[in-house]
């Protein structure tokens, strides 16, 4: 890996798009929806220059199915959208999980339910981490909180999706997508552009034909496929990423992800300046969830407060992780409100006093 020192000033959306290009993404299928439009806009100009194809699909449904087609060919491909559009993509995402097709899906989460608003929210946590469509499957879910992480995790998403032959979701929000930050672009080396050579569709030329499908009607076949998927999800559990900040001597650990994670960091800094013993645990992989490091903190006798930009979703995973020794309080930031550090400081202080 060679880091170029030059920083560029871009929106999170553009950081994702640039990360995809650096990861040799060769096909992008998009459809307009706020707040992710800079991704298709940037790639419509840049993807053809990189020898790839950009298609503005007729719908999110079609875009996700185009992704399915490109992924079946073993090509690094991506789509992006925001909450209502991601709901429409669930059909193809389920098929891709069932057919073991690699693909990267970006969700710049906006307020919901329904049309909601175009501001930030984290209401799609369940949808992202529990599969989202029909059937029992999981996506690898990566939740960047900065422009640099958006760039880095997009590159990583392409490696992971081919490693596991499983769709990977980048879960951001309107803050990440619309915020500009300085990032350092870098070019990964040794990308295997034909990582799907042993299974993908290339034409049955001097070899057995290949079939990529999710329909298993023969007796025992679907059970066997589900067993295969379960084994894969078990394997994924070893791949977790998270950030701990000021947790060492903390009495209370705030659990928050994505944009709320970074806003919580400001809150923790401010409270530390007031002498409060608080820390931050920020999951970066939402699936697999970093349960073990959380449990380790719980075993040290710490207390937990989960704060999300929704009515309480990740808190379930926090509680599952620490259930044998501790519990987590929860404080919502309601979708539709723009979160600031004070929204987190208040509940944290209340929680500390309620000891």
């Amino acid at each position: 890996m060679t880091k170029q020192p030059e920083r560029i000033f871009v929106k999170g959306n553009e950081a994702v798009a640039r990360g995809a290009l650096a990861a040799h993404c060769k096909c992008f299928f998009g459809y307009p929806i706020t707040p992710q439009n800079e991704i298709p806009e940037f790639l419509s100009a840049e993807m053809p220059k990189a020898g790839g194809r950009f298609v503005q699909a007729e719908s999110e449904v079609a875009a996700a199915n185009m992704l399915l087609g490109a992924g079946a060919c073993g090509i690094r491909a991506m789509t992006s959208s925001s909450s209502p559009g991601i709901s429409l993509k669930q059909e193809a995402i389920s098929y891709m999980a069932g057919s073991e097709i690699p693909a990267v899906i970006v969700n710049m989460n906006r307020g919901g339910p329904g049309l909601g608003d175009i501001g930030p929210a984290q209401g799609d946590y369940y949808q992202s981490t529990r599969g989202g469509g029909h059937g029992d499957y999981r996506l690898l879910v990566l939740a960047p909180s900065t422009g640099q992480e958006a760039y880095d995790l997009t590159i990583k998403a392409f490696d992971l999706t081919f490693k596991y032959r499983n769709p990977v979701m980048i879960l951001g929000d309107a803050i990440l997508g619309q915020m500009k930050e300085a990032i350092i672009p870098w070019q990964p080396e040794n990308i295997d552009d034909e990582a799907g050579r042993d299974w993908s569709l290339t034409g049955a030329d001097k070899r057995e034909k290949r079939l990529i499908k999710s329909l298993f009607l023969e007796e025992g076949a679907l059970a066997e496929q589900n067993r295969t998927l379960q084994t894969k999800y078990d394997d994924m559990q070893s791949y977790v990423e998270y950030e701990e900040f000021e947790t060492e001597d903390a009495e209370l650990v705030v659990c928050a992800y994505g944009s709320i994670g970074r806003i919580a960091k400001s809150a923790v800094r401010s409270l530390r300046a007031q002498g409060k013993k608080v820390g931050l645990f920020r999951p970066i992989t939402l699936y697999p969830f970093p349960s073990e490091p959380l449990l380790a903190l719980a075993r040290q006798g710490k207390r937990f407060l989960t704060i999300e930009h929704n009515l309480g979703q990740m808190v379930d995973d926090v509680r599952l992780a620490i259930r044998t020794v501790a519990d987590s309080e929860f404080a919502p930031i309601f979708p539709g409100n723009l979160p600031v550090p004070e929204d987190i400081e208040g509940p944290v202080l209340k929680c500390l006093e309620g000891k």
């Binding site: 803050i175 915020m179 500009k180 930050e181 400001s266 809150a267």
Partner: protein, 181 residues
């Protein structure tokens, strides 16, 4: 103490507040600071104001959204009403006195600077550069980054189509800075 400043820049849509927000953040990056810029939209856009939040810091930046900023650039009256009460005590408030009655400035609590942005821009020949006058004054008043970093960043922020206007924008920035002295 580490350099750190956050700003809300607000005005009417079309006054170029997003452009100077971008420019301030870009210049901060050029001056080796961590920076965030976020256009704040949603219900707030309906009140006749456009605004953005910029954070400049030597340290890692947590929240890019700030409720109680440590500086303001206020280009119109509705923005003054909305954001002046949120400004932290003693902090810099750049007020476009061409459009805002300075009687409304909270001079007791915060450091108000009357900058007749539109009048100065008019004298320079283009009223649309009022935003640059305000930013020049802001940079001078806060001292967060050198004016040169801002001027040097103009080509990176102004779209190629308008590059012929870079020298006059630079003049507007300087005029704003000179007013603060």
């Amino acid at each position: 103490m580490a350099r750190h400043l956050d700003a809300i820049i607000a005005g009417f849509g079309g006054q170029g507040v997003m452009l100077i927000g971008n420019l301030l953040a870009y210049a901060g990056m050029k001056d080796n600071l961590n920076v965030t810029y976020i256009p704040v939209y949603g219900p707030e856009m309906r009140g006749g104001t456009a605004n953005c939040t910029v954070v400049l810091s030597e340290e890692e930046i947590g929240s890019p959204i700030i409720r109680r900023p440590t500086s303001l650039i206020i280009m119109n009256r509705p923005s003054l009403d909305k954001f002046q009460p949120r400004l932290q005590d003693g902090c810099v408030n750049i007020i476009n006195s061409s459009l805002i009655d300075m009687e409304l400035a909270d001079k007791e609590r915060v450091e108000c600077h009357a900058v007749p942005c539109n009048d100065i821009a008019d004298k320079l020949g283009n009223t649309r550069m009022a935003n640059m006058v305000a930013l020049g004054a802001y940079v001078q008043a806060t001292g967060i980054i050198p004016l040169k970093a801002v001027i040097d960043s103009l080509p990176n922020v102004i779209s190629a189509h308008y590059h012929k206007l870079i020298p006059s924008n630079a003049k507007a920035l300087e005029a704003g800075a000179e007013l603060i002295g």
